[in-house]
Amino acid sequence: MKPETQLATSFPKTSARRPGFAFFQSLGAVVWKDLAAELRSRELLSAMLVFALLVILIFNFALDLEPRLRLPVTPGVLWVTFAFAGTLGLNRSMAIEKDRGCLDGLLLAPVDRSAIYFGKAIGNLIFMLLVEIIVLPIYSVLYNLNLFNPGLLLVTLLGSIGYVVVGTLLSTMAVQARTRDILLPILLFPVVLPVILGAVKGSAGFLNGLEMLEIWPWINLLVAYDIIFLAIAFMVFDFVVEE
């Protein structure tokens, strides 16, 4: 091992970074880190996917519907699936940080706490979207429905954003509690109802070819929810990670 003293004698300090750049650099680093680790282990995605497909399978047998009755329940079935699979992803994503003390590692870095929050939230969103992108075509094939409706995809995106924004915040709290795994759904579901309702109704509207006039309120609801809770999470995240 070469002594450090023989190598670089003067080393430029990190404080040379501009704060704005630091924010985005660290946010990007957190997202990259989650994606790279997941690409290696594929634990999180496979767990979410398998779970999602199992849920759809159970619905198939539990509801046992004739073809023409499938369309009305599709948005509901999809979102119940996404909500539960989403919980898995949120839990796991935070557990990784907590278990090896990596959360401390993140907090030690000279960056704004909100950069950590946004980094985790974006990572969680990407995972949730990946699951959805795989589940939607499979569902389409299994039930012979065309789910490739741009409106539906938009609503799914907006709903996922709302879900993940609140979910990341709450999972950060839940992971620090003893009752960690069961706590997240209990905290999350009552609060995220407007998202579920908005996403389901919006999706149903697009699938049934309703007038935009009837669908707009749901989209507005989703957008409002996303913005409001993004602001709240941003303001409150520091309190959830400090000691």
Binding site: M1, T5, T14, A16, Q25, V30, A109, E243
Partner: protein, 233 residues
């Protein structure tokens, strides 16, 4: 460099640190010893800006904690008994991640240097979860020096290491300290601390009860000194 006055830390109604005073000059290597539950880890976490003081004054390099914590963090390197590494990433990727978080300039070159320093260059492309505990600790030190901090905090770094791994760790610690850094290391292990430190402080029941320079004490007197400082008041 590190200036702590009348530090009090309470968790709810339980007081862990009771008016602790602590002063470290630049370049000193202080071994902080003490029994379990004395508050060593709590104290170190406060110095690391991970925990807030309830009362009292804490300054590092002149910056006040927790108010100016952001400025302090770029000057701090912390190694705790958890490695703070991501098992599913390679050694190199872990350093890349932390390098970006700290905004380390000329990162690839710096990573090479650090891997050389901790003797893990041959394993740079291996996943951290395949590393032994000793290797993880060394990589953790690498992570901690990556951004060239002035102050280093080690929380019982020898925990869980066998003799060989401990010896390797010691040589890395010596290199790290040789750079003129200020180091505070908590330890259970008196003999290990004795080889490395320039000063020994005893933390007992929430305050520093004794402090002695390495030059002023014989190694075989250290145990007696420790026992005396941690006895019932």
């Amino acid at each position: 460099m590190i200036e702590v006055r009348k530090l009090v830390k309470r968790f709810g109604l339980k007081t862990v640190l009771r008016g602790l005073n602590f002063h470290v000059e630049p370049g000193e290597f202080v071994a902080l010893l003490g029994p379990n539950g004395a508050g060593k880890t709590t104290f170190l976490r406060i110095l690391a800006s991970l925990s807030r003081p309830t009362l009292g004054d804490v300054r590092i390099s002149g910056y006040h904690l927790p108010a100016q914590a952001a400025a302090v963090r770029s000057r701090l390197g912390v190694v705790s008994h958890q490695p703070l590494l991501y098992g599913d990433l390679t050694a190199e990727e872990n350093l890349q991640f932390y390098g970006r978080m700290y905004g380390v300039p000329e990162l690839p070159r710096r990573i090479d240097q650090v891997l050389e320093l901790v003797g893990l260059a041959p394993r740079r492309r291996d996943l951290v979860r395949t590393f032994s505990r000793g290797m993880q600790q060394r990589l953790a030190i690498g992570r901690a020096v990556l951004h060239d901090p002035d102050v280093m905090l080690f929380d019982e770094p020898h925990t869980g290491l066998d003799q060989d791994a401990s010896a390797m760790l010691d040589s890395v610690l010596q290199e790290v300290a040789a750079r003129g850094r200020t180091v505070v290391m908590t330890s259970h292990d008196l003999s290990r601390a004795a080889d490395l430190a320039s000063r020994f402080d005893i933390l007992s029941r929430g305050v520093i009860t004794a402090s002695v320079q390495r030059a002023d004490i014989e190694i075989n007197q250290l145990l007696g000194f420790y026992r005396h400082a941690t006895q019932e008041a």
